[in-house]
Amino acid sequence: MNAIDPTLTGKNAVKLISGNHACALGAIAAGCRFFAGYPITPSSEIAERLARSLPEVDGVFVQMEDEIASIAAVIGASMGGVKAMTATSGPGFSLKQENIGYAAGAEIPCVIVNVMRGGPSTGMPTRPSQADIMQARWGSHGDYPIIVLTPASVSEIYSETIRAFDLAEQCRTPVVLLYDQVIAQLSETVALDGAGHASATRKWASGPRADYKPYDGGSDAIPAMAKPGDGYRTHTTGLTHGEDGFPTQNPEAVTRNLSRLFSKLERHRDLIDSSEALHCDDADVVIVAIGISARAATRAVEQCRAQGARVGLFRPITFWPFPEMQLRQATANARAVLVPEMNTGQLRLVVERVLAGMPVEGIHLFSGEAIAPSDIAARATALARGA
């Protein structure tokens, strides 16, 4: 095979590729063997890449009739024991929400990529945005936990895609990979070192059928899953269920299962959490940003420091569950916090809650343009000087 992607051959390589390409390569390296999707800008390159790569590794690609069918097929494949992913953007992400809730409640691992574009509605298909932060967390009805990762470079899209699969499998949860149109279509060099990646696998049921309880969390709150064909013949439902997997409305059983579900991610924060603090120790002003805004903020920090202003950057890489403790540590010596983001204030809302009492200011750009480093630097410098 000559045209094959380098990660498929097991050889490491350094390549100049786009964020969406990196996502497709990361998925293959992580062991993804099923993709279902529906075309939408600016995510379609992921599907196009995987349509070529998956058959080369005995995987399956299918373009479904819409985004609802795509997430449903992905969950169906994962219920069969195969690592599965879908990718979309704004409108498609909205359509997937009901079934993302199903995956969260029935605890079916899967990865959902949302390349954020301007909204609401059809919005600006080819323009970047960061306005789906809250939808990624709260988009489906009811109360449920979910993991959301926010990479900020092409290389990080590659490694975070791999981590998304690992977390999905280990914690039996949907994981959303959330990045903006800029890094999706930006080309950067990436070390494709994931080929030798020892990918995490799901905890599978073992032992006699009579002793097996599909939703018994055991010692780590993560139940072992029965693979169809292994003889357990279990039931999976989106109705509230007990440890046996069958529907129940018994208040104690419902409370017990949902409490375990909510505690599941909290108990594995060491595995899930990821963030970066740059020059925060002595910072008077800490910038909090994700994705392309964090890239701009990194440059802004350099500019501020060059002018003697003590400015740092805190960047959540795992966005949900939000790295609250890490943010508090990073801002321990700060006098003010600046939140540049491409929306009207979604990240600022989180930061204000976590750092109650701290002066928090936002730079909110929702024109379909990325925020310029100089704009962030100017405001951060002024804040550092007490203006």
């Binding site: 080369e56 399956v60 795509s70 969950i75 079934n99 169809p228 039931h235 109705l239």
Partner: protein, 279 residues
């Protein structure tokens, strides 16, 4: 005349006893359809460890929970889409879908036509009781003209779908229909569907006795079954028989059968052919 005894078939061997008593209303046609499905599975000797049943939301959708197999009760309208992922990812499994008329033709209509077109090996059992039973008796895409439901207090004015004609037009490789009155025939039809190599669509004319029957003064459960039976005509009589509630009397049995390539096998073949040429 069709002669078969069920002597070697004990339905309780195939049911999850811990789920009994079941939640269906007395006389509900869905229970008969479930029995016919399990009987077909028994006759074919299908390995239940390799049998996956995917169902949507509704009274019909609830049936998967009673079957001692790998069962998945998914979201409203989407069982065919879930089953598509499962069957593509696990070609070693035998995947059966149980869905209702609302689940399959209203909210899930898009998935149905594309499943028919794609022709992936799946057996789709649509239990048509002409109503949304689970939610209390609202009009469905198969409710006959002039029937009363909680959302058609003036009598239904919308024409109803002929699901089998729809499935055929969309390209399903196997399409059939049967009434619950003829259990052995229904069983044989389901068996033929299960054995079909591609997408098989089986419509079961079921009855919602408790809600639809009561609302329309249709009598007892057996009265309703007799009515279903009497509405069924050989196709030659289609245009000559005047039935008050179904303007077109519905033909039963196997209505469509063709040998279009099965999608999963075609995909895998194309993939291995490609791997062979590009090396």
């Amino acid at each position: 005349m069709y002669i078969e005894t069920a002597a070697d078939f004990d339905v309780t061997d195939y049911l999850r006893k811990e789920m009994m008593p079941h939640f269906l209303c007395p006389g509900c046609g869905h229970g008969i359809a479930l029995r016919a499905l399990l009987w077909a599975i028994h006759d074919l000797g299908l390995d239940r460890d390799k049998l996956a049943v995917v169902s949507g939301i509704g009274c019909a959708g609830r049936l998967s929970a009673y079957i001692d197999a790998n069962t998945f009760h998914v979201t409203h309208g989407r069982p065919l889409a879930y089953a598509t992922g499962l069957a593509l990812a696990r070609p070693d499994l035998h995947v059966v879908v149980i869905t209702g008329d609302g689940d399959c033709l209203a909210i899930g209509g898009n998935h149905l036509i594309h499943a028919c077109r794609r022709n992936l090996k799946l057996t789709c059992l649509m239990l048509n009781n002409e109503v949304y039973g689970m939610t209390g008796g609202q009009v469905s895409p198969t409710t006959s003209e002039t029937r009363l439901t909680t959302t058609t207090p003036l009598g239904n004015q919308e024409p109803h779908f002929d699901a089998c004609a729809l499935a055929t037009a969309a390209g399903a490789g196997f399409v059939g229909r049967e009434v619950t009155h003829h259990v052995p025939k229904l069983k044989e039809l389901i068996k033929a569907g299960l054995e079909h190599p591609g997408f098989a669509f089986v419509e079961v004319l079921s009855d919602c006795t408790e809600i639809f029957g009561r609302k329309n003064d249709m009598g007892s459960s057996s009265d309703m079954m007799m009515r279903q039976k009497s509405e069924i005509r050989p196709s030659a009589y289609l245009d000559t028989v005047d039935t008050p509630f179904r303007s077109n009397a519905l033909p039963t049995g196997v209505l469509t059968r063709n040998d279009r390539p099965e999608y999963g096998a075609a995909y895998r073949q194309a993939a291995s052919a490609r791997a062979g040429t590009s090396s």
